[in-house]
Every structure is written in structure tokens, then in C-alpha cells.
């Protein structure tokens, strides 16, 4: 009887390790976790290190994150120094050679698209600037195509047995995504050419996509919280060039945008920024649906 149990256990172990080649993914931000799930399907398990309520620039290197990174096969992050304030410490403490910088297990989405606003001058007096360019690429859904493509290739490299599966999922995603982009672009047509104010200068890719015109950011310099004096300047600018609304990411302090909304008499629009940022942004598709419907609602107010 004992032999039976041992044999059965061995058999099950043998089977499970061949049947399910699971790639354990540590996603730095929920949008990359969602994309990894789209491409990886049930051959991957995804842990999201941050939520839509958190500022991806400023995350504490919590013990739980270190423990998760210890067992990961692949990190899927934004890159371009967005996570520089916390990820290096997690990687150092997790000491997982698979996901070390430069290894196949380290995937940075910003490596596969063209980044805008590469600063000509690197100086901390300019605030929280990123040497590689503006890292907030996920605000434009078109970015997801080359990234999903590269991610499928990377998953295939890490788990060659499932290469065909990833490829098939990726091409399926690409079809659905291309159709969705066309639909969103059409829905967002009324937004084309309007003026907006933004809290953090994090939306240039979305502005490019939808043809929005950013009049002014509420931060005097990236990452520097506005003083009341600076907000008065912003109000003056908005008097000269009125904006339809002021947008902020869900994780941001609502006070500056609410202040401007009240004093400039324009709506403050909270956008999800990533999956889970708002209740409506449940997955990668609804992230953009919710973003557009919130801005359209802001236009009507």
C-alpha cells in the first residue's frame, strides 16, 4: 500500500512537471501584468508588484516583493528608469540570476518602442526626468503591439516548449487589439484637437494618439509637487488658453487638480492610468475604454 502511494505521488510529480511548463512572471505594473496574461495565457502565472492606486515611481522595496522576485522566471517592467527608485533594491535582495539586468528573464517594455522627450540636458534641477525619455508609454494602446510581439518572443525563449502557444495567442491578441484601437480612435474623435491640462506630465503618448493638446502641467517640474504660487500661474495660463478639463492619474493626489478645476471652472477627470486604477479598468481592453469614456464625459460637463 505504501508503495502504491509513493508510486502514485512520483507519477503525479512526473506528469505535472511535463504537462505544465509554467513561467512565473513578476510584473512591475498592472498593465504589463495584463499584457503578459494576454500573451501567456494559462502557461504563465503573473504577480503584479504594484497596483493602480500606487505611484510606480515611488514604491517601497517591501519584503513581499523581494520574496516574489526570488521565485520569478521573468520580470515584465516598463524600464526607462521608471522603476529605478525601487526595483534595483528588490533585484539585489532577491538575488535571482534569472531576472538580473541583461538576462532573458528581464523584459523592459520601453526597449521596443520609440520614446519621446529624451532630455537634451540631464540635470536634477529639472526635476524627476528620465534619461531614456518619457516612460509612460502605456497611455497609447498602439504601443502594446510591438511590445506584445517582443514579449511573445521572449516567452518562447524562456519556455520553448510553448512557443507555438504564445505565438498563436499573440497573433490572436494582435487581431483583437488592432480592431479595438480602431474602435477607440473613432470613439475618441470628439477629443481631437482639444486643450487639456495634466497633473503629471505623463500623458504625451495618449496626447499623440488622440490629438490632445497639453496646455500646462500642474507640476512645475516633473515629480515636484506644485506650490500655491505655481498653481496661480497655471490658472493664469488657463485663462489665456482655456482647457476643456484637467486630467490626473488615479494614484495621484487629487488636491492640485481639484483646486484647478474649481478655480478655472473646468472638470477634473480622473483616469485609470493602468489596469485597476479605476473600477472600470478591469483589464487591458477596459483600461482604454474607461479612459476614453471618462474624457468624453469630461467634455460634456
Amino acid at each position: 500500500m505504501r508503495k502504491l502511494v509513493i508510486a502514485a505521488a512520483l507519477g503525479v510529480l512526473g506528469l505535472s512537471s511535463t504537462a505544465q511548463a509554467n513561467v512565473s512572471i513578476f510584473a512591475c505594473e498592472p498593465e504589463w501584468g495584463a499584457l503578459a496574461k494576454e500573451v501567456g495565457g494559462d502557461k504563465v502565472s503573473v504577480y503584479n508588484a504594484t497596483t493602480g492606486a500606487q505611484d510606480p515611481h515611488q514604491i517601497q522595496a517591501r519584503p513581499s516583493l523581494i520574496a516574489k522576485a526570488r521565485g520569478a522566471d521573468l520580470t515584465v517592467c516598463d524600464g526607462a528608469e521608471l522603476e529605478i527608485g525601487w526595483l534595483p533594491m528588490i533585484l539585489q535582495q532577491a538575488d535571482n540570476p534569472k531576472i538580473a539586468v541583461g538576462q532573458p528573464g528581464a523584459f523592459d517594455a520601453t526597449n521596443y518602442v520609440h520614446l519621446l522627450e529624451q532630455p537634451s540636458r540631464l540635470d536634477r534641477a529639472e526635476g524627476d526626468i528620465h534619461a531614456a525619455g518619457n516612460p509612460h508609454i502605456q497611455t497609447d494602446p498602439r504601443m502594446m503591439l510591438p511590445i506584445s510581439h517582443a514579449l511573445a518572443a521572449r516567452l518562447a525563449q524562456i519556455d520553448p516548449g510553448d512557443a507555438a502557444y504564445f505565438g498563436q495567442r499573440e497573433s490572436d491578441f494582435e487581431k483583437r487589439w488592432t480592431a479595438a484601437i480602431a474602435k477607440w480612435t473613432q470613439e475618441a474623435a470628439p477629443l481631437r484637437g482639444i486643450n487639456i491640462a495634466v497633473q503629471h506630465h505623463a500623458w504625451i503618448y495618449m496626447e499623440n494618439w488622440l490629438g490632445l493638446h497639453e496646455v500646462v502641467p500642474l507640476e512645475p517640474k516633473p515629480g515636484v509637487p506644485p506650490s500655491s504660487g505655481y498653481l496661480a500661474e497655471v490658472l493664469q495660463k488657463l485663462q489665456a488658453t482655456p482647457a476643456k478639463f484637467v486630467i490626473r492619474a488615479a494614484y495621484e493626489d487629487d488636491r492640485p487638480s481639484e483646486f484647478i478645476a474649481e478655480h478655472a471652472g473646468i472638470p477634473a477627470v480622473k483616469l485609470p492610468f493602468t489596469v485597476g486604477g479605476t473600477d472600470g479598468a478591469k483589464d487591458l481592453f477596459s483600461l482604454y475604454e474607461d479612459t476614453i469614456s471618462r474624457m468624453l464625459a469630461g467634455l460634456k460637463k
Partner: protein, 473 residues
């Protein structure tokens, strides 16, 4: 029946020998992918170049307001190159040209930026920490003792009046794929330069192992491993000052193992030369100090998390000189229990966050003090909280104390005798951060570590510039 089952089990297991062949195949596939990657890379480099050309062409085109035929030509070439790159990868299943879909106005496909080719490209990251103090105190801070312990020379308070405190310069870099290095110079008020840390660290040992060797701050306790500029208050708390000379660091080796569990669980052990207080004069053939520690932590819910630690330090001292030439020879054992709790609404510390930390110290020093045999149990604690109530602004409170056993009549009146007076200190803090790299502090301390209390107001700035590593939890 039994035989049948065994046979079935073997049949199932037989799947695994087959995997050996698969492994060989896998290796072959991997090698192929590697070759393809190299090819992709070379294509990417060409692509980057082509893209640069395209950009230049566009710039020129727009300058002369001529039709952008040249630019778009170059750009479509670029896109072609990109297609080739994608097609070359067997693992990339759908070699469509996503670049075209991404870029609306002008074709600008993914450009992996080429690394700078200058001869300083491999320079280490150099960071500087500058500090400045202004201290107003009711008593001379340099004459304040901590009653009941023979404290080391770094246990004191900052100088009265203006002073620089400690400035640091650090150099950090990867040495090769297996090692990284860290060197940290510290400059004291008196212009003396010391090597605070100089160590190598392994990067890719298997099984969650890390080895650190050289001079470094011990991993015991919670605050010990952090550099002074990373503390929540301007100075070390009373038990750290009394028992560890503010911070324990020495020359040695450290091994850490991170358990493969969802609960953060890390074990560490260290051996040190034993020159630094509370050890002295490198006993046991230059292995005078041993430590062991375990750290564990996790998230409690979305908004809060904790880290707990138990640490132990054993050190041996031979003729350790403190104060006015008092000599101690003997053993020092110290156990530390640490608990840190952090809270931020929905885990987002940007606007508001709270950090609570407390450590308990329990230890025993025994041996000969100025030739007098003695044994003394010592106990110490601190509890502190720092609350950021709005961006850039925080307030903090700290309460600390130590109690030491009476060393006996023959040593009454010596530094080991606390004269029936348990040292205590209460500290309040107001902090303004100019950014994550700059900080101003106003700190008030009511310190009763000597017979007469000292009231101290401290102003401090701390700035960091250059590439500075991310901070610990």
C-alpha cells in the same frame, strides 16, 4: 495488483528519461535562438542607424519645407529592416510589422539605443552624501556620558554649533557578470578620511545565496545596515550608541540565504575580524566577532506591511580602551529583536505614510574591566514613529532607553555604574524634503543619559547627488 501499480508508476516515470532527449533538443533550440538573437541584435544596430538617418533626413526635410519624400523613404527602409529582424526570429510567431501600427505621424520603429562609446562608459556610479549640522544644547554634547556602559568613541552626539557631520562618497559598479563592488569613503569633521565600506558582492549564486566580503556594515538589527543618511532621525538611538558604538561594521564575510517562500524569509551569518567596538584587537586569530540573523516580512494587507528580525552578535575584546584609558578584556553577547511596520493608504506612500520601528536589545558583557572581574546584563530599547502627513513634510517621535546591571561594589563609580540612573532620551522631529535627494531636519532631544539632562536642538541638511542606489525597506 501491486505489481500492476508499480508497473504503472514506472511507466509514468519513464516519461522522464524521455525528457533527457528533450533536453538535448532544447539545448539545440536554445543555441539556435542565441544565434538568432545575435543576428537580431546586429539588425537592430543597423536599424538604429537607419532610424538615425531617417530622423536626420526628416529634420532636414522640415527645415527646407520640402516634401518629405527622402525621409519617408528612409523611414520605410527602416521599417523593412525591422521586418527582417522580426522574421529572422523563429520564436517570434507573427512577423507582421507592428511598427507601422504604432507610429501615426512618422514611421519611428523601436530603436534600441546604442551604448555610448566613450572611454568613461564603464566608470562606476559615483554618489556623494553631504551633511551639515547646527546644534544648540544646554550642555556640552562632547562631555555627555551614557551612564552604565563603557561606550565607544563614535557613541557621542554631534558637535555643538556648526559642523559638517559625516560626508560620504561612494563608488558602485558591477565588476563582471558574477560580482559587484561598492566602496564608500567617509569624511569626518576633523578631516580624517576613513573607508566606511569596501566590499564585493556576488550576483548570481544559485539557490538564493549571496556572499559579501570586505568591510561592511553588519546585517544585524534593522537600522545597523543602513548608512546614517538613511536613518529616520539625525542620530542613532541610545541603545545603538551605547552597545554598538552607533553602528557595527568591520572587515569580514557575510553569507545570506533567501528562502524560496512567498513569505520573505532570509537567514544570514557573518564572521568579522573583531577590531570594531564592542570587539577589540582582532581576537581568535582575527575572527573576533560572529553574528547570525533572520529576517522575515510580508504584506499585512493592501496598505500595510512589516519586517521582523532576530539577530545575535558575539564578540571578543582584548584591552578595549574607552573613556580615559579604561581597559576591557572579555566577551560581549548581544541579542536584538526588531519589528518594523509601514503603512500607506492603498500602498501609495507618495502623499501620506507611516513607519513604526522598535528594537529591543538584550546582552551581557563579562570579563575584566581595569583588571576587575565583572559580568553585566544590559537591556535597551527604542520605539520610533515617523508620519509623512503631506508630500515633502513629516513628523517623528522617538523614545529610547537603556538599563544596565550594577557591576558590583569594586566597580562602583566607574563608567559601568549607572549611579542608579537609567539613561533615557526623547526625540521629536520635523522634516522637510526638497525632493527624494534633499532633506532638511529640525530635531529636538531631551536626553537624560547623563546625570544632568541635556536639551538639544539640531538643524540638519542631508543631500545626495549622483546615481544613488534605491533604499532598503
Amino acid at each position: 495488483m501491486k505489481r500492476l501499480i508499480v508497473l504503472t508508476a514506472f511507466a509514468l516515470l519513464a516519461l522522464s528519461p524521455a525528457r533527457a532527449d528533450e533536453n538535448a533538443d532544447l539545448a539545440a533550440i536554445k543555441a539556435e535562438i542565441g544565434a538568432m538573437n545575435a543576428k537580431i541584435h546586429s539588425l537592430e544596430v543597423r536599424l538604429a542607424k537607419a532610424e538615425g538617418d531617417a530622423r536626420q533626413a526628416r529634420a532636414e526635410a522640415s527645415r527646407v519645407k520640402a516634401p518629405v519624400a527622402v525621409a519617408s523613404n528612409a523611414a520605410s527602409q527602416t521599417a523593412q529592416t525591422f521586418d527582417q529582424a522580426q522574421t529572422a526570429a523563429p520564436a517570434a510567431p507573427t512577423p507582421q510589422a507592428p511598427a507601422e501600427a504604432v507610429t501615426s505621424e512618422a514611421a519611428a520603429p523601436p530603436p534600441p539605443s546604442s551604448p555610448p562609446a566613450s572611454n568613461n562608459a564603464f566608470n562606476p556610479g559615483i554618489a556623494a552624501v553631504l551633511n551639515g549640522f547646527y546644534v544648540a544644547s544646554s550642555r556640552d554634547t562632547q562631555k555627555q556620558r551614557i551612564l552604565g556602559v563603557a561606550a565607544g568613541d563614535e557613541s557621542g552626539l554631534p558637535l555643538r554649533g556648526f559642523s559638517l557631520g559625516e560626508s560620504e562618497v561612494s563608488l558602485a559598479a558591477n565588476i563582471d557578470p558574477e560580482l559587484s563592488g561598492f566602496l564608500d569613503f567617509s569624511m569626518k569633521d576633523d578631516n580624517s578620511l576613513s573607508v566606511e565600506e569596501a566590499y564585493i558582492l556576488t550576483k548570481d549564486l544559485p539557490y538564493g545565496l549571496t556572499v559579501k566580503a570586505g568591510r561592511f556594515l553588519s546585517g544585524i538589527g534593522y537600522l545597523n545596515e543602513r548608512h546614517a543618511h538613511d536613518w529616520s532621525f539625525s542620530d542613532a538611538s541610545l541603545p545603538y550608541r551605547a552597545f554598538l558604538n552607533s553602528q557595527y561594521g568591520d572587515d569580514g564575510i557575510q553569507v545570506r540565504w533567501l528562502a524560496p517562500t512567498d513569505q520573505f524569509l532570509e537567514f544570514g551569518a557573518e564572521a568579522f575580524r573583531g577590531d570594531a567596538y564592542p570587539a577589540a584587537n582582532a581576537q581568535h586569530g582575527g575572527q573576533g566577532t560572529f553574528t547570525a540573523f533572520v529576517h522575515t516580512g510580508n504584506d499585512i494587507d493592501e496598505s500595510s506591511s512589516y519586517l521582523a528580525a532576530l539577530s545575535y552578535l558575539h564578540s571578543r575584546a582584548e584591552n578595549r580602551a574607552t573613556g580615559n584609558g579604561d581597559l576591557f578584556t572579555g566577551n560581549d553577547d548581544l541579542g536584538i529583536a526588531s519589528l518594523v511596520y509601514k503603512w500607506a493608504p492603498e500602498g501609495n506612500p507618495t502623499v501620506r505614510n507611516l513607519t513604526l520601528a522598535s528594537e529591543l536589545f538584550y546582552g551581557r558583557e563579562q570579563g575584566l574591566y581595569d583588571g576587575q572581574a565583572f559580568g553585566q546584563n544590559r537591556f535597551g530599547w527604542y520605539a520610533q514613529g515617523v508620519y509623512q502627513f503631506m508630500p515633502q513634510w513629516s513628523v517623528g517621535l522617538r523614545y529610547a532607553g537603556i538599563d544596565t546591571q550594577n557591576p558590583g561594589p569594586l566597580l562602583s563609580g566607574s563608567p559601568l555604574d549607572d549611579l542608579g540612573h537609567g539613561p533615557r532620551a526623547e526625540t521629536a522631529l520635523l522634516e522637510y524634503d526638497t525632493s527624494e535627494f534633499g532633506r532638511l531636519r529640525l530635531q529636538y532631544t531631551h536626553d537624560e543619559s547623563d546625570l544632568k539632562p541635556n536639551d538639544e536642538i539640531l538643524l540638519q541638511y542631508t543631500v545626495i547627488y549622483g546615481p544613488h542606489g534605491a533604499h532598503r525597506y
